[in-house]
Symmetry: C2
Subunit: 290 residues, 2 copies
Amino acid sequence: MGLSKRIDAAVERAIAMGRAGPAPERLSGALHYACTPGGARIRPTILTSVALACGDDRPSITDAASASLELVHCASLVHDDLPCFDDADVRRGKPSVHRAYSEPLAVLTGDSLIVLAFNVLSRAAGDTPERALALIAVLSRQTGMPHGICAGQGWESEAQIDLSAYHRAKTGALFIAATQMGALAAGQEAEPWTELGARIGEAFQVADDLRDALFDEQALGKPAGQDDLHGRPNAVSMLGVDGAMKRLSDILSGAIASIPSCPGEAQLAQMVRMYADRLTPSAEVLRARA
Amino acid sequence: MGLSKRIDAAVERAIAMGRAGPAPERLSGALHYACTPGGARIRPTILTSVALACGDDRPSITDAASASLELVHCASLVHDDLPCFDDADVRRGKPSVHRAYSEPLAVLTGDSLIVLAFNVLSRAAGDTPERALALIAVLSRQTGMPHGICAGQGWESEAQIDLSAYHRAKTGALFIAATQMGALAAGQEAEPWTELGARIGEAFQVADDLRDALFDEQALGKPAGQDDLHGRPNAVSMLGVDGAMKRLSDILSGAIASIPSCPGEAQLAQMVRMYADRLTPSAEVLRARA
């Protein structure tokens, strides 16, 4: 099974656990709607790639970890889209959850997906409870307060933003979770994998800023220019398009250099390079803009 | 240290973990605001009482469990109060979180408290990782979909409500979590404690319906008559006040009869009787109404 199919199957299994038995049908439908069809599934792909590079000796724990991380990511998208945040009508090319199902169900969908993520991990322990616990510790740290994506979103309500804490929490946190959880799922230490996650997160943030500045709503599958609209800090407004492109390239080189020594080091470097190509706007797009 | 001080201290320690380091100040303040000063802390009191009845051989795990359960309960209150649900301006005699801090911060406060609950449990494992994992499994099951309080709230968006699933999930779930987690924290099996939790949950629901029908907003510390207003099923509208009083008394007798054999069985029965007295509207109130 290819990586992408493996991850989609893991996410589907996790969602099915949240919908078993006599559950309220609309909320049940909204859970599935919020997570499928998937976007690029970048975070679980990184997680699984790191686990594979480290030997992946307990594939069922790796799958639970990748699904739980994707559930939390999808939950954050559902809540970020709410009227009181981005008020986004569209996500991944279809109506956002609160538009398709209602605002109460969107709040509950986010809540349920977060909780389901921890349920999935708690049930995947098998004969290695320490691994499952370490995964729960990392996922909760990188999701909540004071270090995770909730904190990142929380910074947007402050008069004075700590920019470095903001970016690390808002975008970096779940990429750090991805690399750390990949290592933990395969029985390795989390810490040596922190820098790779942090750098991929930075690259992703800069690439997102570039896309937000260069593409329109149709190409993005979500409203464009949201950062400018909401006054959020943005690499393109700070460095310009060329400066941001240079920064992206530097960050990705640093990411590859940071990969810890492991059996699958070479393939992992190749995966990061592949993402780098995908993340970087093509010469064609840049010409069209000029 | 008395039970109530022990529980408040555990909750304060848990919240402090969510506010350490460079965190966004307003969200950080909202986490504390949402959980203090506490209400009756009924769920953690039941949890800790069951743990004590079972020997409480790892008090730090019991405290983590009781704090995590209270965090999830407080999170549910914050989200239930949101404009898209009950639109409640007041909670526990002070402005609700979205009124005091803003709607975005209320959404994030609920999210952060849920995540913090699992973080607290993951860090309390000590030398018994299986206990921490079992606690996480129970708390996530009784919080999320398809069995937990999220499902309970989700039923309110259905055209056809499965009443028994609705009540079990909406109110019963966290009481079942309380008794099961108390037993697990002390190294005992969860299952024999399910009925006690379910019956206390039923009693609490009926008592809440009675209070909602008999008291005004000032005495409740929250808007009265919410069930009638939102068309939610209610024991008083179905059975009348006298019928609901009789039902409450029957449920509490059943709760006491269901207590599994354990070293602290007698004290636990006494605690349930004490709650029964507190939950039951006094003759004075009933006379005043007549």
